[in-house]
Subunit: 249 residues, 2 copies
Amino acid sequence: MPRYRLTIEYDGGPFVGWQRQDNGPSVQQALEQAIARFCGETVAVHGAGRTDAGVHALGQVAHVDLGGDHAPETVRNAVNFHLRPAPVAVLDAAVVPSDFHARFSAIGREYLYRILNRAAPAVLERGRVWQVAAPLDVAAMAAAAAVLVGRHDFTSFRSVMCQAESALKTLDALTVERSGDEVRIEARARSFLHNQVRIIAGTLKRVGEGRWSLADVEAALAARNRDRAGPTAPPEGLTLVAVRYPPSP
Amino acid sequence: MPRYRLTIEYDGGPFVGWQRQDNGPSVQQALEQAIARFCGETVAVHGAGRTDAGVHALGQVAHVDLGGDHAPETVRNAVNFHLRPAPVAVLDAAVVPSDFHARFSAIGREYLYRILNRAAPAVLERGRVWQVAAPLDVAAMAAAAAVLVGRHDFTSFRSVMCQAESALKTLDALTVERSGDEVRIEARARSFLHNQVRIIAGTLKRVGEGRWSLADVEAALAARNRDRAGPTAPPEGLTLVAVRYPPSP
């Protein structure tokens, strides 16, 4: 049974999240159903990470074992055919060694949080961005972001529901840049805590509005208390951009 | 009665086009209704140009005369409030001289046609792009585009329904560039014929696929016959990016 690595794009809007749940359609379920329609197999699709309801992906990665001996392009095209009309698509399929694991082999994740910083509501980017009317000070946001880079106890920046054993994480990069009306927050780490990027975005927005100083962010981090960081930014602004793996030997 | 210039973004998907029509909701009607709700006036909103059903705008321009003496920001915010949930927003409102006319004062229009050039269907950009699976030769498309730049009789590149008296137009710029998976065709002219950009996009796609040569495009232009150019590309790939006016005196 060859193992396939799938690179997946989805619009998180209509889903309860990546992971299969009882309360609505998940991306994982959409993929498993499309594979069942394609080759009649009931399979488990293993994702690199769970994304929450409403969170998008440009490059989620999953693996799945399939019988038969399908060419990767056949898997990609057939699964895409059977996914319709769900807003999920397999961008790439590749055969990988049987010890490849989408989650445990991953060595890095990259997220993008998009803020549409203008008075008018989002239209063409509706459901893809967080619209914030007050002009944001991007330089102040970038300076505050630098406080969070590195190895820290991120208890203040994770959901109280987070199930990770430790809140100690290394944030490899956190940048804030303006591109026209848009403020783009990019975050890279080996792995993230539940809601970590959204809480960071909600906190940096407070800094951008001038309501919080850099010292407030330092104090929030040091407090190790979720109540001390900013609010959790809405899911629709967040996209899982890419998952990285070691180069093949 | 001050005249306001409105800069407008919309998702063309749910509309029959810019212009008011009997067969469904138009962007013009959505704006006129929102203005009526805001200030109780029945007004005509004059756009710089009609966009077809499904065509988007990042920077359509319109003018409207309103009684009262509303600050431009008030007009923008109130109209946006009353537009909800229609995917239309006023990005900017400004008071302009009473001889400003959105259509007749315009000296330039800029359109963008987006092709998503990959095997997988569009997901996050669904409804915003034309998905083309075959790899496109962008250099060949750019060379063919150069044939169309300048002053020509564009009879081959306009809808047979086009009502313009003359098909003689000057295409100021037509560029084709790749950005990742996306092939972006940008067109600038004082004004365009009906379906001109979409027929250009459909023709250049044939060139990109290797089915048509540069000489075929030259022959299509010279033929002055709509049947000799390529097909009309789908509306969802097209966006009216900007309308230009002379600098204020």
